[in-house]
């Protein structure tokens, strides 16, 4: 399903050619619209010619309708489409600065390139200026790095912000654009052609325009009616691969591998504990976050996982494996990458890294279910060596000491019990690169 993962092609001629051809289409579309002419662009700011607004908003609306309609039809996985992350204040300040550059220089970077390619000398000078500005930014950004990184909201879309479905927002966007076009036509007639107010028709007469606008509205309404795919629909797309991974136990990771990964400073291990609060308080892995199983279907929560850094590995854990596996399916369906389940759950973990008998006892006949198979004498949380076997051991811990190990003492049941070698396991975690690494312009 689209978008296609082009990462394996990187470095080949085909890969470069794909981007080259898209660029050719982009350049040609800008050129035929008149974006190579600075006067046409600047006229936008004197309301004589609204070409910039018309072309840009038509482009945005047409692309948005096509993107979300194909997503609604199950042709495009929107979670793998790059959405420019929002850095609100630097974006607004940068935008204001660019507005100044636009009216003084007469172009924006993309259009100046097209102007230069058709030998417009003002375009050539503008491109040179852009090089200078980009260079100056690189030299100076260090002095205001905190500002540059401020007001980060991640992958944050208008539907997320308004709490409306994507299709509805697309309909609203189309309607907004049509109103703007209507206003633009009137402004052009008044400021550009000098038509007097009473001669300007307030009802659009061009059949082609009405047909075009009507088509966009119809497609947007269809997008809203179809709705964006549900978690079940999305699981359907990946079910064959997902069921195979579950069947071959590819995504169940040995506790010892989790411990080793937590020691790796180049990785970020995110453990999602889907058990109830009582069990979580009794015992949980150090650094684990408790979530409700329903959170795996909450768009706001899933968005934070989708926006996590490239080196993040997410583990889901429950007392057994069943609840965690369901959460895994939900998150996997929504496109979360580098996602695994801890093999054997918390019960399996405690079998491997056993707490001392005076802290917890194993209940007979409970293993494998979703009830915690251990009874703790107190809610130790992660203040117990079993919760962080990855920490370096510094001193001998008395067997029955509760909550005294926060300073970094460790637990190594194998060595302690004198079993010899550290546990061996089959490595299952493979860091997958996200399909979308960087925005075109970003």
């Amino acid at each position: 399903m689209a978008p296609f993962n082009l990462a394996p092609l990187a470095g080949t001629l085909a890969y470069d050619l794909v981007f080259l051809l898209i660029g050719v289409g982009f350049g040609a579309a800008l050129e035929v619209s008149g974006f190579g002419d600075s006067r046409k662009l600047a006229a936008q700011f004197y309301l004589r010619e609204m070409t910039v607004l018309k072309v840009m908003f038509t482009g945005i609306v047409v692309a948005a309708v096509l993107i979300f309609l194909s997503s609604a039809l199950g042709l495009l996985d929107f979670s793998h489409v790059w959405v420019n992350p929002t850095y609100l204040v630097p974006g607004i300040v940068g935008g204001l600065i660019m507005g100044v550059g636009f009216i003084v220089g007469g172009f924006c970077p993309g259009t100046s390139l097209v102007a230069a390619s058709t030998l417009k000398l003002d375009g050539v000078f503008f491109v040179l200026g852009v090089f200078g500005g980009v260079y100056a930014f690189g030299e100076t950004v260090q002095s205001f790095e905190p500002f540059f990184q401020s007001t980060f909201l991640g992958r944050f879309t208008v539907p997320d912000w308004l709490g409306l479905p994507y299709g509805v927002v697309v309909v609203l966007l189309v309607l907004m654009a049509l109103v703007m076009f209507w206003g633009a036509e009137i402004a052009e007639a008044y400021f550009g052609a000098g038509t007097s107010w009473k001669d300007i028709p307030l009802v659009p007469r061009s059949r082609a325009r009405i047909a075009g606008g009507g088509t966009l509205v119809a497609l947007a309404v269809a997008t809203a009616v179809l709705g964006q795919p549900t978690v079940e629909d999305r699981w359907g797309w990946v079910a064959s691969e997902g069921d195979r991974q579950l069947g071959e136990r590819e995504i169940f990771v040995d506790p010892a591998e989790v411990v080793d990964l937590k020691k790796d400073f180049t990785l970020k291990v995110d453990v999602l504990d889907v058990r109830g609060e009582a069990d979580f308080n009794q015992f949980h892995l150090s650094g684990a976050r408790r979530i409700e199983p329903g959170d795996a279907r909450d768009p706001a929560f899933v968005r934070t996982l989708l926006g996590a850094s490239e080196n993040t590995i997410v583990f889901v854990v429950s007392n057994g494996e069943a609840v965690a596996t369901q959460a895994w399916k939900d998150l996997r369906a929504q496109g979360v990458l580098n996602l695994y389940v801890i093999e054997g759950g918390i019960d399996g973990w405690l079998d491997r890294y056993q707490p001392s008998p005076c802290v917890a006892q194993k209940l007979s006949g409970e293993t494998g279910g979703e009830r915690l198979a251990w009874r703790f004498v107190a809610a130790v949380g992660d203040r117990n060596p079993s919760a962080h076997p990855d920490r370096a051991r510094k001193e001998y811990v008395p067997a029955c000491a509760l909550a005294t190990d926060a300073t970094g003492t460790g637990y190594d049941p194998v060595h302690e019990a004198g079993h010899g070698a550290a546990p061996t396991y089959t490595k299952r975690v493979r860091l997958q690169k996200k399909t979308v690494t960087k925005g075109g312009c970003g």
């Binding site: 794909v18 981007f19 050719v24 800008l30 619209s33 970077p109 950004v141 997320d160």
Partner: protein
């Protein structure tokens, strides 16, 4: 050939629809939108690296792109940039708009226009990096996928332009 007048530009709504389809195809095929300024940054670092490679290694923002053994030009956006240039040129030649000229307002000289273009370009380049994208990468691509930041950015660009337009009207009118 060259004596024939250039063909007129297409209807802006048709041009916009074309642009929208290209943008959609870009997202559909690669998962990414369109852009220019990011790739300009890559080319700029590559040029800088020819003269002062040790400086590129020292400044974090440049090193990220082309420090050490990294090739700043090994980037998909650079090919898109090249394509944009080619696409503009092809369309310009086909429509008889490929000729040396300077587009300016009636009341300034060519030299003044060039100087303002250089200045405006520098301001634009700086702002584009601060905003993490230019009009195409942020406003157009981000707008199509409904990013909140991109819409805020878009209104800021128009706001900045309209706020200053009156004071620089001599440049264009």
């Amino acid at each position: 050939m060259t004596s024939k007048p250039p063909r007129p530009y297409v209807n802006p709504y048709v041009g916009g629809a074309l642009l929208g389809v290209v943008l959609f195809l870009s997202f559909y095929i690669t998962g990414n939108g369109l852009g220019a300024s990011g790739a300009i940054g890559h080319v700029q670092v590559a040029i800088l690296n020819l003269f002062v490679p040790e400086h590129v290694d020292r400044v974090a923002y440049f090193a990220e792109v082309g420090g050490g053994s990294r090739n700043a030009l090994d980037n998909a956006g650079v090919f898109m940039l090249l394509g944009t240039f080619l696409g503009g040129m092809i369309s310009g030649i086909a429509n008889r708009r490929f000729r040396v000229e300077t587009r300016r307002g009636p009341h300034i000289t060519n030299r003044a226009r060039w100087a303002y273009a250089l200045l405006g370009g520098a301001v634009m380049g700086y702002g584009a990096r601060l905003a993490r994208g230019c009009t195409s990468g942020q406003a157009l691509s981000g707008g199509a996928v409904l990013s909140v930041g991109s819409f805020a950015f878009m209104f800021a660009v128009f706001g900045g332009g309209y706020a200053l337009a009156y004071f620089v009207r001599r440049l264009w009118n």
